[in-house]
């Protein structure tokens, strides 16, 4: 019986020869990722009540990213609880203020194809870009995983989303995802496994693929998988991950998808999602000219090294409009350091960008830096729900890093294709 990639990984984790969509199985977890918000401060009281510790500290990765910078006593206390937990439980894979968990986890070599991974954050499907089955859970469920090393799962069916052709200049994976949110809806993923395929997908660098898997969350999918290829292997090799069996983790050619959607990347325009839903996406021309006050390049969705490079390609040698506040919060310290070395960061800062910490920042909406009353922003992040990133009266448009950068130059929503540097002759 043929199996999809999702079914193969789940079968292996469940210790079964095969599984079928709809079955409920119990899986052994290969890795659990937790952060400072849903992590120690929420799970420690539960583990204490159960009278147990973490089932296997070497299979836990702890990353602080939500309540940073810790500017008040509550946030400082959360960071203290986080550090104390790491020490008490013997969690050596603890990344304190190194960047956002979904970006730090693969950059430090913790992911590889075929793994079954649980993350304490809704954007955990990001790990699917590496051919791992990774999904998000809440804190109590995570406490159960940390106590037992196991989790139940309803075996998902696979929704195959194929992109043919190739993306045009100034168009990115973020545009693909905004298009899909509008096309399929915020529940189009039905909490099943989305799998991205096609030549347009496999032409993308790893961090662009991560944006696709990341925003599987916005489609309401449990996971967002991409089969590993040579680009995956190169990325993993550079992180020091062992990749001996990476390439065996593929679905069978004759495996059955419950839905198969095919789209042409060649004709995709840059997309902008209007307030207050990613599903309000339309070609940028629908919103071009809308005045914005803030341009935000941030978060795991929109401020990885590849995202910073897109913004820099537009902003290099240019200035943001004087009416605009251009903010950039690189998704990880390591990505920021590379961007600094290669001149990417300077291109953004020289255009007038203000550098913010390597943390979830305005996207999570937990900290002091939030959009004020009646502010209109364009953001490279994933969610523009009402009141998430600031005042309920703030209006957040979503776009790609290219589109955010072009809009920063014009002071209004702009088509990035009109701001691309001349192609070399």
């Amino acid at each position: 019986m043929a199996m999809t990639l999702a079914e193969k990984i789940i079968a292996r984790a469940a210790g079964r020869a095969k599984v079928s969509p709809g079955e409920i199985v119990t899986c052994a977890v290969d890795l659990a990722m937790i952060h400072d918000s849903g992590g120690p401060r929420r799970v420690k009281p539960i583990l204490d009540r159960l009278g147990v510790g973490v089932w296997d500290p070497d299979k836990v990765v702890l990353i602080s990213d939500h309540y940073l910078p810790a500017t008040d006593e509550e946030s400082r206390n959360i960071q203290r609880v986080t550090r104390t937990f790491a020490a008490a439980q013997g969690i050596s894979n603890f990344y304190d203020a190194q960047g956002i968990c979904h970006v730090v986890l693969p950059e430090r070599g913790h992911l590889k194809p075929g793994m079954f991974v649980v993350g304490g954050d809704s954007h955990s499907p990001t790990g699917g870009a590496f051919g791992a089955y990774m999904f998000g859970v809440g804190a109590t469920e995570m406490a159960g995983v940390l106590a037992t090393g196991e989790i139940w799962l309803r075996v998902p069916d696979t929704i195959l989303i194929e992109w043919t052709g190739s993306l045009g200049a100034g168009v990115s994976s973020k545009d693909i995802m905004l298009f899909l949110c509008a096309k399929l809806g915020m529940d189009g993923g039905r909490y099943q496994a989305v799998q991205y395929a096609g030549e347009a997908i496999h032409a993308l660098p790893m961090q662009e693929r991560m944006t696709l898997s990341n925003m599987a969350a916005e489609l309401g999918a449990q996971a967002g998988l991409i089969e590993a290829d040579a680009i995956t292997a190169d990325f993993l090799r550079a992180t020091g991950a062992r990749i001996d069996d990476a390439m065996i983790w593929r679905g069978d050619a004759n495996a059955t998808a419950s839905e198969h959607h095919v789209f042409d990347a060649t004709t995709l325009d840059p997309q902008v999602a209007a307030p207050h839903s990613p599903a309000n996406a339309a070609p940028v021309s629908s919103h071009a000219g809308t005045k914005v006050d803030v341009a935000y390049i941030g978060a795991c969705t929109g401020a990885k090294l590849e995202d910073l490079r897109m913004a820099a390609a537009i902003l290099r040698g240019r200035k943001a409009a004087r009416t605009i506040e251009l903010l950039v919060a690189p998704a990880s310290l390591r990505d920021q350091e590379i961007a600094q070395r290669e001149g990417t960061l300077d291109a953004i800062l020289d255009a007038g960008g203000r550098l913010l910490p390597n943390a979830c920042g305005i996207c999570a909406g937990y900290g002091d830096t939030r959009f004020g009353e009646n502010v209109t922003a364009i953001s490279s992040t994933a969610r523009n729900f009402k009141g998430r990133m600031g005042a309920a009266s703030s209006q957040v448009y979503l776009g790609s890093p290219y589109t955010v950068a072009a809009s920063a130059i014009e002071g209004r929503i702009a088509d990035p294709r009109e701001h691309l540097p001349e192609a070399p002759v």
């Binding site: 409920i24 918000s37 849903g38 929420r42 539960i46 009540r49 159960l50 009278g51 147990v52 309540y67 008040d72 509550e74 946030s75 959360i78 304490g120 954050d121 809704s122 955990s124 998000g136 859970v137 809440g138 804190a139 109590t140 469920e141 406490a143 159960g144 106590a147 037992t148 139940w152 915020m186 529940d187 039905r190 909490y191 309401g220 449990q222 839903s277 999570a364 909406g365 937990y366 939030r370 969610r383 729900f385 009402k386 009141g387 998430r388 309920a392």
Partner: protein, 166 residues
Amino acid sequence: MSGRAFVFGDNIDTDVLAPGRYMKGPVEELARHCMEGIAPDFARTVRAGDIVVAGRNFGMGSSREQAAQALKILGVSAVIAKSFGGIFLRNALNLGLPVMVCAATDDIRQDDLISVDLINGCVSNETRGVTLPAEPLPAFLLDMLADGGLVPHLEKMLASRRATPS
């Protein structure tokens, strides 16, 4: 359980249920701001036993379980919706908040008196005298709910493992 219906639309997100700016404080304080972005009176007017009724994709968005916890703290006895955000649904059950999928929630109006039968999978609208079909939960989740959620369920499980060493 039975109670008064509090009716919401589609795609109620976790930022509305558990606003981010209150996330670092005590969850009891956060609960007072539950839904305030779309229904400012909800947290003040909802009473113990009331049932939240919604359209599609209730609880979409973040994994923050405070979204479900806030409803429980406010005394909501169950949530029925056409569909749920997957993580929210798991969180609610883990915290001992009953949830059930019911395709016919359009037939319920604000303040209708309804009762929810989790075991047989149906919702009775006592105000209108109609019974609406719903999807019963799998038996193992009903067991977990009966224990009060995942933590008491695990306590029981770990205690029985300790009692019978392998």
